[in-house]
Symmetry: C2
Subunit: 347 residues, 2 copies
DNA sequence: TCCCTTAACGCAAACGGATTCATATAGTTG
DNA sequence: CAACTATATGAATCCGTTTGCGTTAAGGGA
């Protein structure tokens, strides 16, 4: 059996409570006693039993991270490791542990989450997604446990703390980046998934086009996700259009990669013949050829901020739920170019 | 305050011990009593307090997952989400929770790991990497806590339980796959990182070449990692060689992507002019153009098996530490072709 | 010297269950 | 009907910490 606070107390000729206070560095204990006790702790190789502390403090000092289940999503880039790094950076500062909630199906995840909350294994939760028909968030609301959603909640904005990019704004900015380069015929390639982020980015594209007085052709809009066949087909359709777009906004680097090679197969060059801006600024965008100009959503910061919000909320729950927007930044690389620049040169 | 086992006992007119036995479905309790107690639990909305159980059972029912810190590594594909899915699948079956051990630096990770072990917050650990100069594994050995390493341990094979692919064999197989296609001039592109897997794959390549009586030209061997500039340069050097290789073994899909576009820039075609086989079978290999033949290392299974080993070890620690090898499978796509096949057709 | 304040520390009760051992009840056997 | 055996239940104890409150002793003021 490991050495307990009592063993230390006995050996140091003090009461267990004194040892406890030494551990928490209470000002009520004299420096002399502290030194004595710490010496004994050292000698005996004492280490606090966190579980016992958890029990009496009624707080597990643990936050749960709820992963999205969908495999296709999880395949996407390095979202999980980066966001976890961000979360853990803050957790370490406040001595919180991280518990992963996951499962093969949405129902598994839901059950796991409920179990953790009811079993008091977590003090709060971070939900790594936001989507319709989700059971976890409603449960958490009703349970009263602090939680923050990473992404824009489907409903109940002021009742839910959330951290997100302004995806509408980001997509608008990306689109306007192209517009400022002189592009007017801009296509959009997104995904029509159930996740909020997909919708927001499409919305942002539309806003930018409209507020700049540009037409949105239906034939310029394509939806697919991580599907090379569809992707190539969609790209070909786009390129073969009589009035071919001069630039494309693509909501994910991976999809951009598909488009990229499809375009090259058609003997067009990027960015000379067509400009591309994509999202997420993953390794892919650095490695692609040419390297892709991509919107960095700052995943680490998303994680870090959501942890900050959560821990704040745990320490003093407030009725007003806030939201934090992490700015996105356009990482300029080599996939965009002013429209018709080469032509001008010839004049 | 939440309803406890005592509240339930009082309301049901039984002793707390009886309620406890009902929870664990002990055969010593009559069905009638069980029904009665369960009904009361239901009515009162009782849920077990896992923390209390943890304390008295002297087991946290939690396993720790130690991530690798290096950002460049974590950027790599979808290793983390997939391995976590595998681990969690088994954990759920045995009612284990997952605690993530991570940090911005190796030292942070080490400290976190020690804290978790000494504080008895975990019953065992899974280490997601294997590398030299690591402090975590030695500490775990000395602490006596059950753990399993994912990857081949640097030392102490029979003292450490580990789960791994046979990376030497996998690389040999990949190389022989090309050899069987008639290739003799085979290049190797790997990384010279500190991780064991990198060394093993290079070793496997060498073995295959040697045992098939093929020459290994120094100029056919290149090392880089996720670096487009180096990658392109290395590829150009390879292609511009007087006696150009007809096939390349590349130890990571991402690197293969770099090579792929460099080759296309030089107006060569894959697989017609040069065959490529890579590793990890990530989304990239499906999305690349052409889709890459890639060695699937079965990440989910790696996670699942390591969890199985760990939980076994927790339940009954044994002196003999075993190792489990997860088979790799070559996922055939369109980046490999028999050498000179087109030529033959012309005869 | 006596009283009062205050610093320093100890006591014991939680925290919410699991476990153990003793006891009670019902049923069986000779 | 006594003796005995299963089976079911109760009460006490423990797990390792924290914490509110009480105690002790030292020190200062009058």
């Amino acid at each position: 059996m490991a050495v307990t606070i009592k063993d230390v107390a006995k050996k140091a000729n003090v009461a267990p409570s004194t040892v406890s206070r030494v551990i928490s560095d209470s000002p009520k204990i004299s420096e002399k006693t502290k030194r004595k006790v710490r010496k004994v702790m050292e000698e005996m190789g004492y280490h606090i039993n966190l579980n016992a502390r958890v029990l009496v403090q009624q707080s597990s000092k643990t936050i749960g991270i709820v992963m999205k289940n969908s495999t296709s999503e999880s395949l996407n880039s390095s979202f999980l490791p980066e966001v976890v790094q961000g979360i853990s950076a803050l957790c370490r500062k406040h001595d919180y542990s991280i518990s992963l909630i996951t499962g093969d199906s949405e129902d598994d995840i839901y059950k796991d989450a409920v179990q953790k909350v009811r079993g008091k294994r977590v003090d709060g939760m971070i939900i790594l997604y936001s989507k319709e028909d989700d059971k976890v968030v409603p449960y958490l609301m009703e349970s009263g446990i602090p939680f923050v959603v990473l992404g824009k909640p489907v409903a109940g904005f002021n009742k839910i703390t959330f951290v997100d990019n302004d995806n509408i704004h980001a997509a608008r900015e990306a689109t306007e980046y192209l517009i400022n380069l002189g592009h007017e015929k801009i296509a959009f390639i997104g995904d029509d998934s159930e996740y909020e982020v997909a919708k927001a980015r499409f919305e942002g594209f539309n806003q930018a086009m409209i507020s700049n007085g540009l037409a949105i052709h239906e034939s310029y809009i394509k939806f697919f996700r991580f599907n090379p066949e569809y992707g190539k087909k969609a790209t070909r359709e786009l390129i073969n259009l009589e009035d071919r777009p001069t630039a494309i906004v693509i909501t994910d680097d991976l999809d951009a990669l598909i488009v990229l090679s499809a375009i090259r197969d058609m003997d067009l060059r990027i960015p000379d013949d067509i400009s591309i801006i994509s999202f997420n600024n993953s390794v892919i965008s650095r490695i692609a050829s040419p390297p892709l100009t991509s919107v960095d959503i700052q995943i680490y910061e998303l994680g870090y901020e959501s942890a900050r919000c959560l821990i704040e909320e745990i320490k003093e729950p407030s009725k007003v739920k806030k939201s934090v927007i992490i700015p996105t930044v356009i990482e300029e690389r080599e996939s965009c170019k002013p429209v018709n620049q080469t032509k001008y040169k010839h004049y």
